[in-house]
Amino acid sequence: MTDSALGTRHIPTQGSEPELVQLLTPEGQRVEHPTYSLQISDDELRGLYRDLVLVRRVDAEATALQRQGELGIWASLLGQEAAQVGSGRAMAEDDYAFPTYREHGVAWCRGIDPLNLLGLFRGVNHGGWDPDEKNFHLYTIVIGAQTLHATGYAMGMQKDGAESAVIAYFGDGATSQGDVNEAFIYASVFNAPVVFFCQNNQWAISEPIEKQTRIPLYQRAMGFGFPGVRVDGNDVLAVLAVTRAALQKAREGSGPTLIEAYTYRMGAHTTSDDPTRYRLTHELESWKLKDPIERVKAYLVRTGKADQAYFDALEREADGLAAHVRRGCLEMPDPDPLSIFDHVYAERHPLLEEEREQFAAYLETFDAVDAHDAGDR
């Protein structure tokens, strides 16, 4: 792939929407794209569909768990399944992903048990998995910070001579942070093998995209000297093709790419949010017609690549997964109070040891009181 293939550098033109890479229309029609062709087996296609359905189901279950008080908060990926599954499945095993707090679909593709994602939202930990096990970093909540970590990690891969690449995930709002722009600069200057994957879901909590930029976001890359491309973020095939190409380019030493996955946050920002305060339902309705799952289903059905038995089986699988998530969440033990002091430092730290000791002794006074009370009864 040549540089110009990914480098669709549009001059912003007021009014007209820029072109969007698309391989599967909202109606489920397979279309060709001059640059991003995709050969995909029926098995793979069904696999993508399965991913989409399962991550949506996990998300729904987590939202339900939050409503029932089992999670403190949940950041739903509803509507962004294709952006996440398409990019997640584009990665090779040795590639590395740096997510925000919403990349449940990417986590799934990397092989992270969805249960592990819940710990943070339940408040039992700040991230419950070993990042190096699946090359999937912990969720980062401070907007944009992870893009620099991703870039540094990619610089490290480059130094190692590894043939792999990094994906940095972030939202449309994040593009305003200094850190993200610095990441663009470091990546560009060091030609780091990193793909900047921006899910433009049109909103940063209550702020529409116009509060962050006055031109299409993918064009930001131009100013830093690397290609930017806008892809239909609700089209899993297009996202897969575009991300694959960008990752391959990165691995081959051609440097960073910015991918803007044009999508929509169908739900609230998080379960704490109330979008009725700031956005109109007709926008939501129009995006419903572009649902990332429906279009794949329509395609599968029309082409006969999947039959009812397949869909039924998948439904049962989804039920099972949801049950696993629910059960695991309810069973998740609260952490030990003294674990507050664990893992802060790798090496000994006398102040923390002292505080831990004092706190343990303090907690024991309650145990003593409890025991005493129990004895009284």
């Binding site: 943070l120 408040g123 700040h126 994040a174 305003s176 909590i205 702020e207 109070p337 002091f341 505080e355």
Partner: protein
């Protein structure tokens, strides 16, 4: 006279300031239509327009940096930082620019910028949403740092902070946002206590408890509990973290001879350190016990299921009072 929550009292304070002075602006992330994630700016954009209630791009350094420019142009921006843990990207603009520009200019410019920060834990939130970072700013010369603990103070301190010609960091105790009190709106700013005064909330003779922000309520509860055991605690709401109202603090320390400071922030180099060092220095011969500190641990704020453990509570406070009395 109306019964209002602390959050609502801040809104009313902002509204009063905006009505009084057309140069007052409100800016930050989601402060417009949404009214902020805590609804503190609710309704302001509707009434004062997008020109005065500004949804900014998602960039905190930009919020403070442009607020400085607006202040140089004669405006009085009130910046909202969405959560305590998100102020750090603006740290350079706050400590190197906002705090120092007046001295740099030999007094020829003033930067009447208020930075509102919902602070502290106890709301079951995820990482970065429960921090107490007042020590960073209180250590920074050129800033004023205040913390309200109740709706009435919230109402007045907001307006006083905006009226100040110096930059003020205003901490709002987020887990007390929904606490209520009666607020008499007919009172004027002049009738309110000075911004930088501490307040003796409860008078006592056995020991002094100094608290601020979210911990004031805990301190008062501890005093009630202690009273049942016959111990009379004097409770001081610090209100101003920088500068300190040393007169009030030292008078109390001299009277009771025992001082316990409580705050959510980690203890090491927390406000308690300064209070202990200062009070010990000026009241050395009056103290019967060292100033004791009851604080968050010197760890990152834990996952929320452990925050009850992490945060100082009534028991830990009373335990420290007992230790103080045992000297």
């Amino acid at each position: 006279m109306a019964t209002v929550t602390l959050a609502k009292a801040v809104t009313m304070g902002l509204r009063a300031a905006m009505e009084a002075d057309p140069k007052v602006l409100v800016m930050g992330e989601d402060v417009g239509k949404l009214g902020g994630v805590f609804r503190v700016t609710d309704g302001l954009q509707k009434d004062f327009g997008e020109d005065r209630v500004i949804d900014t791009p998602l960039a905190e350094s930009g919020i403070i940096g442009t607020a400085i420019g607006l202040a140089l142009r004669g405006y009085r921006p009130v910046c909202e930082i969405q959560f305590d843990g998100f102020v750090y990207p603006a740290f350079d603009q706050i400590v190197s620019q906002l705090a120092k520009m007046r001295a740099r200019a030999l007094g020829k410019v003033s930067l009447p910028v208020v930075v509102r920060i919902p602070v502290g834990g106890g709301i079951g939130a995820v990482e970065h949403h429960s921090e107490s970072n007042e020590a960073y700013f209180a250590h920074t010369a050129g800033l004023r740092v205040v913390a309200c603990s109740n709706p009435v103070d919230a109402y007045f301190m907001t307006q006083q902070a905006i009226a100040s010609d110096d930059p003020v960091i205003l901490y709002e105790p987020k887990r007390r946002y929904w606490e209520k009190a009666d607020l008499d709106e007919s009172l004027t700013l002049e009738q309110a206590a000075p911004l930088h005064s501490a307040r003796v909330l409860r008078s006592g003779t056995d020991a002094t408890v100094i608290a601020y922000g979210p911990m004031v309520k805990t301190a008062m509860e501890a005093a009630t509990a202690a009273a049942e055991e016959g111990k009379e605690l004097e409770v001081i709401d610090l209100r101003s973290l920088s500068p300190l109202d040393t007169g009030t603090l030292e008078a109390s320390a001299r009277k009771t001879g025992r001082v316990v400071v409580v705050h959510e922030a980690p203890g090491f180099l927390g406000m308690g350190s300064e209070l202990a060092a200062r009070i010990t220095e000026t009241c050395f011969f009056s103290l019967e016990a060292p100033v004791l500190r009851v604080t968050g641990f010197d760890t990152p704020y834990p996952p929320s299921r452990l925050e009850e453990e992490y945060l100082p509570d009534l028991d830990r406070l009373l335990d420290a009072v007992d230790r103080s009395l045992a000297y």
